[in-house]
Each structure stands twice: as structure tokens, then as C-alpha cells.
Amino acid sequence: MDYDKALVVEGITKRFSRKRKREGVFGKIGFGYRIQKKAIDGISFCVDRGEIFGIVGPNGSGKSTLIRVISTLLIPDEGRVTVFGHDVVKEPIIVRRMINRVSPDAAFFKKLSAVENLAYTARLYGIRAKEAMGKIEEILRKLDFPRSRLTEPMENLSKGMQQKIAVARAFLTSPVLLLLDEPTVGLDPRSKRSLQEFILRIRDEHDATIVLVTHDMEEAERICDRVAIIDEGKFVAMGTVEELKELCSDNGSIKSLEDVFIALTGRSMEEAEEDDEDF
């Protein structure tokens, strides 16, 4: 088994269907019909151990679906995903021990405090609350989270603070593969910067592999070793930021990943997001 490969994704396809009502004279009537859309369309890639791999693309391009497949929360229609050699569909519990995820919505029990939420997660991963407390404090200190607010209900904390707790929850379980799905969305510039620095430090200190999903091109450029650009469920390019810029630098006007995205898809990120809202 090749343990230098943290993540291997081979030809993953995922379709979703939605019910639509037929449009009649009196508005939407009848039994309706189903439409199908490929959220991910035959994606393949590998992530090396210790690498920070970025997936960038507009909202609705299939980034979160891909993360959900890797997280064992969605079963792909076609293809195979392995984490350190373990199949996410056939060996979900082994895979779940190795991964954790930060999603854009910091999903917590709102009335419980940060400590209660984190202690609950720790127990699910076989860590006793006392043992977890030391770790929690260490992680939150690095993220500049005030200790005094640990016992407040989550609903009293700002979006930025909740996101820091979400990051702490993910790191608490010492994952070897960390899936960060828009971790800095909604954060102020200072918090965003400190989280980005924390991600880089974690990779260096804890030998963690990180898949970072973002639509923030600057963020991807700053912290990712390699980046894949996703549009309409397909990877349109993959490589280091320099390689991607070089790929589209015929007229020398490519300055950023956003320029690369426009050159490869013929649309800006905003336009791509508007197109995807139809489904």
C-alpha cells in the first residue's frame, strides 16, 4: 500500500436529482418531473502526505460535494476514494478515525458551551474530557481565542469565534487528513490571517495533510502547495500556483489565480456562481 499518498480520488462522479413542478396556466401544477445534474464529473487526483492541496472554484462548482464524498457523508455514483489506502465506502470507520473536517457553517449545539461541544466531540473520538481539555486550551491559545468565553453558549459567540471553535474541534481529534471547507469564510482579516498561519504551522508540526476548499483565490495562493481549479464539477487545471499561471500566460496578463480561472473557463468567479444558481 502506498502510504505516501494521503488521498487518492479516482474518477469520482456524483449526480443529484431535484423535483421540479410543471409550469401551467395557473402557476406550478401537476406531479412535476425530475432533473439531474452532475455535481462532480469524473474527478481524479492524488494528494501527497504532508501536502496542502487547494481546490478553488465558485460556489456551486462541486467543491463541498467532493469534500462530503471524502468525509464518508456521500456515496459516489462512480469512482473510488481512498484515504491512506482505505476505501471511504467500504471502510468508513477506519477512514473516519483519520480525517476531520471544518465546514463553512460552524455546526454546533447552539445552547451548549464551546467546552461542552468540544468534550462531546472528544468522547466520540475516544478521548476523555480531561485529556481533551489540555489540547483544547493549547489549540485555542494558538488561535487567540479568549479562555473566558469557553463556557458561554455557542449562540453568544460571534461567527469568527464559532469558526475558531470549529477549527479546534477538527484539530482536537489529531486527524492525519484534514478537510477544510471554506474555513475562513465570514472571518475578519485578522482572524483570517491567524487561521491561515495556524494551518501552515499544523502542517509543519503535526505531519498533517490538508485539503483546503475555498473560493478565495488569494488564500489558495498563499497557503497551498498545489491547487486544482474546479468548474461545473470538473477539474479544469491542476498544479502549483506558478504552473497554473504559466499555463495561461501566453499574453503575459496572468497575475493571479482569478486570472487563471477566467482564462480557463471564459467567465469570472461571480459569473460562474450566477450560472450555477439555476439548479
Binding site: 462530503r68 468525509s71 457523508l73 455546526a107 449545539f109 445552547k111 468522547r123
Partner: protein
């Protein structure tokens, strides 16, 4: 490889995670719980007063003491069973509402441990709530249960919890596919069980075409067993038919409930329904 003792210790920690989490949540949502307890208490009290007043309404002599206990057993047991059913059925709906479902389903735990943890909480909390309401109601009525078969009643309670938990697991999948309609269907199923199980009357009063439904409801045997133990004061041997029926139902319902839940989880992951909120 993990040693057996380590494995057991890890599974116990997971069970504690769910039980502890639910108690913490109930503590924070105490006003809802207070409302629920007050409602059940008032309802149980009203049922008891109904028993006291039957003689006055009909103008005939009625053994009101027996009638009150008969009705109170129905009310209290219904409160317990409905609470248990609702708790187990809420495994999915509560977490969807909070938005935490993906994190719980992504944790490296077996689904059976997850479901057992939620069921254990439901049983522990249900017993505590029932005892509290019983204590409060006892102040208002002169309840004579001396000589009642309390160990037998406890056995019936445990056996009925097992079978109800199995049905609860099956019902818990409804909110997985339709968050709103699923919870409403759960309510309808609960109401049907209430109607056919003889909570406040013997099932013989039901029309014959409806009676077969009472035979497949575990609540029927729970109520019948409880009344035998507390009212007729029969020993455990007298409770054998009810215990056997409940255990048989549990033996079928729990594995079936687990299989149905596992199938539903897999299906939800195929069609992408795990995280939908609407």
C-alpha cells in the same frame, strides 16, 4: 489491534458522550422540559379526577380507587412510552435542526452504539420523569398499591422499552428523508398507537376490525402487564404472556429497526439527504 477491554472502554465513552450530551441539552432547554412535565402532570391529574368523578356523572356506585389507578397507569405509562418513542425518533430530527448531523455521522463510531446511547438516555430520562410525575400525582390521590408486584412492573417496563426502542429506530428514519413531513408522520404513528393500545380503556371496546392493530402494538402488552402487576397484584408467572409478547416483539423490532436505520442512512448518503434542512 485494540484489546477487548480497551474496545469496551471506548464504546462506553461513546455511550456516555450521547447520554451526557442529551442531559446537557435538556438542562439548557429546561423551559421546554418544564412545559412538557407540567403538561403531562396536568393531563395525568385530569385523568385521575375523571376517575374520581365517574360515579357522580353516572349516578352509580363505582370502585373509584381502582378506576383511578387504572387510568393513572394508562396516563403515566403513555407519558413514558410516548417520551421514549419521541426521543428515539428524534435521533435524526434534533441533530438536523441543530445542524450537527454531519459531524455526528462522520465520527468513527458504530451506528449501533450511537442508537443504543440515544435509547439509554431516553430510558433513563423517561423513568426519572415518570417517577417525578407519579410522586406529584400521588399527593392528590389516595393511591393504595400495597402488595403490588413492583419487580414484575419493573420487568414489564424494561421489556416494553426494548420493543418500543426498535419501533423508534424505524420511525427515526422518517425525518431523514423529509424533515418536516417525517416529524408529522411520527406524530400520527404515535397517536395511532395511543388509540389502539388501551391506554384508558380495555382493548375489548375497540371495533373488531381495529383490534388486530392492538395485538401488534407493544404498548398493549405494557399496559396490560402493568395493570396486572399493580392492580391485580399478580406475580411474575402471571405476567408471562405479556413479558413473552414484549420480548418477542423486541427481538424482532430491535434488529429490524437497526437494519432499517442502516438502510436509510446509506440511502440518504446516496441521494444526498443527510444535510438537507428543508
Amino acid at each position: 489491534m485494540m484489546r477487548i477491554s480497551e474496545r469496551i472502554s471506548a464504546e462506553m465513552l461513546v455511550l456516555y458522550a450521547f447520554i451526557g450530551r442529551q442531559f446537557a441539552l435538556y438542562k439548557r432547554y429546561w423551559h421546554w422540559e418544564l412545559m412538557w412535565i407540567a403538561y403531562t402532570f396536568a393531563n395525568t391529574l385530569a385523568i385521575g379526577f375523571l376517575g374520581s368523578g365517574v360515579g357522580m356523572v353516572t349516578g352509580q356506585e363505582v370502585d373509584s380507587k381502582t378506576l383511578i389507578i387504572y387510568l393513572l397507569i394508562g396516563s403515566l405509562m403513555w407519558g413514558y412510552l410516548a417520551g421514549l418513542f419521541w426521543e428515539v425518533g428524534s435521533v435524526v430530527s434534533w441533530e438536523r435542526w441543530e445542524g450537527t448531523i454531519e459531524y455526528t455521522f462522520m465520527a468513527p463510531i458504530s451506528r449501533i452504539t450511537h442508537l443504543i446511547g440515544m435509547c439509554l438516555f431516553a430510558i433513563i430520562y423517561g423513568v426519572l420523569r415518570t417517577v417525578l410525575i407519579l410522586g406529584a400525582v400521588a399527593i392528590f390521590f389516595d393511591l393504595d398499591i400495597s402488595g403490588a408486584d413492583l419487580p414484575g412492573a419493573l420487568l414489564i417496563l424494561v421489556a416494553s422499552s426494548v420493543s418500543l426502542v426498535g419501533i423508534g429506530m424505524m420511525v427515526a428514519i422518517l425525518p431523514l428523508f423529509s424533515p418536516e413531513k417525517g416529524t408529522q408522520i411520527m406524530g400520527i404513528i404515535e397517536a395511532l398507537i395511543l388509540m389502539v393500545s388501551g391506554v384508558y380503556y380495555p382493548i375489548d371496546v375497540l371495533p373488531s376490525w381495529m383490534r388486530w392493530l392492538s395485538w401488534i402494538s407493544p404498548a398493549t402488552y405494557t399496559l396490560s402487564g402493568m395493570r396486572k402487576a399493580l392492580l391485580s397484584k399478580e406475580g411474575i408467572s402471571g405476567l408471562f404472556p405479556e413479558l413473552a409478547a414484549l420480548l418477542l416483539m423486541g427481538l424482532i423490532a430491535v434488529p429490524l429497526g437497526f437494519l432499517v436505520f442502516s438502510w436509510a442512512e446509506r440511502r440518504a448518503k446516496r441521494i444526498g439527504m443527510l444535510s438537507r434542512s428543508g
